[in-house]
Amino acid sequence: MTARASKRLARWAVTAPPLLYLLVFFAAPTLIMVLASFRSPAEFGGLAPLVDEAGKLDLNVDSYVRFVTEPVFMRVFAKSAGYATVTTLFCLLLAYPLATLIASSGRKYRDLLLLLVILPFWSNFLIRIYAWMIILGPNAALAKLVNGTLALFGAPPVPLLFSGFAVLVCLVYVHLPFMVLPLYANLEKHDQALLDAAQDLGANAWQRFWRITFPLSLPGVYAGAALVFIPALGIFAIPDILGGPEDTLIGNLIKQQFLETRDWPFGSVLSIVLTVAALVLAGSAAWVARRGARRDA
């Protein structure tokens, strides 16, 4: 065997197996789903035959038309986007002081403080949802405190669990690390001399933050916002477990289409719209962040 042939063989030996696996178990299912979105649902769920008895090919855009024309689906999308936006804002609010503290810590503590942010992320997703079931439960201390206070003002008690509030708190909880990490990575690179110069010129802490630190941190903010917003948009377990009947989000709708209604084409349309929305957002966040970085450079 020539050296060249053996090199090509080595290249194929390491590239082909993972490539093949991902083509079969990732690319093919995704393509099948795109095709499924252009088909009709069968009478008892799944997909209608590709070619019917009359020999007519089953390819149409009915499910897309349904998504666009029935306002209820757009409303669910808007609601999901609203929840994801509020989640992103609260994550930013909590993550900023945390990232600032870590970035300004000495080398010795930095890794530890950062690890403490990442660690909860590695505990099971369902356990983290379940924890909020306990905290917000009707017999727990928090609900008693809130409803006791409300009673003082003669207001009726409010349920904390199975509500939009519970969904939002848990969304912020599970996504917080995704905001802290990019923000920290950005803040860590800031030049302290800029802040010192501003101080020498008479800027107070508030001005230093809003005129220097915050604008410089925007690429980190955009990256964090994308990392929080995208998974928050497609979540289904949190509203499923902590939400009330009003809290149906896109994820729940997709789950319904596949496991209950068994309307695969429409479920595929919803999944594709969700994914396209997520990718467009991620792409524009990356674009804005890169433009910001270039301007700073």
């Binding site: 490539l19 300004s104 379940y130 905290i135 990718l279």
Partner: protein
Amino acid sequence: MRRRSPWLWAAAIVAYAFLYVPLLIVVVYSFNDSRLNAEWVGFTLDWYRTLAHDEQMLRAAGNSLVIGIVASGVSTVLGTMAGLAMHRYRLRLLPILIFAPIAIPEILTGVSLLIFFVLLNFTLGLVSVALAHIAFCIGFVAIVVRARLAGMDETLTEAARDCGASPANAFRYVTLPLIMPGVIAGALMAFTLSIDDFVITFFTAGAGTVTLPLAIYSMIKIAVTPEVNAVSTLLMLLTLLLIIAAARLSPSLFRSQGDH
């Protein structure tokens, strides 16, 4: 070190408390002598005893373990190959297939695999779940291995080749031992991801197969007992140990600076 205001400390402590208090409550209530997760009554190990005799939960744990071992084993081999390939060659398709499953919403991976398996008349169960887990674990292993390779002196492998080693032997005796910590860290990470996965498992498991996260899901949807706290505490402990092991083997994974 820069001067920091006490307000910053206060805000950061609130954020850390927000991250840890919920998990601590789960752990504390797993030792609570009360059926309600509402207030502390007294210490007991009853919920762990109940757990030890819960056949369904034990079966779920067994399933999770088998799926985790198979999925992490296969995805480590494939992911190491992918990491190596992406490090050495200029490829187009492979990097897209490696990063896309990580970037797109998890639910899409879940439902598209559901359609795929059902259309192929593939029975949903342990095998379909393991195949799905391998698909999303490969990318994570590949990224960890590539990070390890990036920090490695590639001339060592070239030297071995110049001395007449075949590509396979150069890999077996030079590259592999050098990247081993990355490979093991990737395997531990894949195992953790597999044993913790809920969304993709939910869609690919079918009706009869239960893993630990699925068992926890049906318990908290139907009837919450502190047995959930007990199983959660044990699962958290396992994850914590695996992650600490992975972090020790591949510090760059969790370090604030360095190649990513």
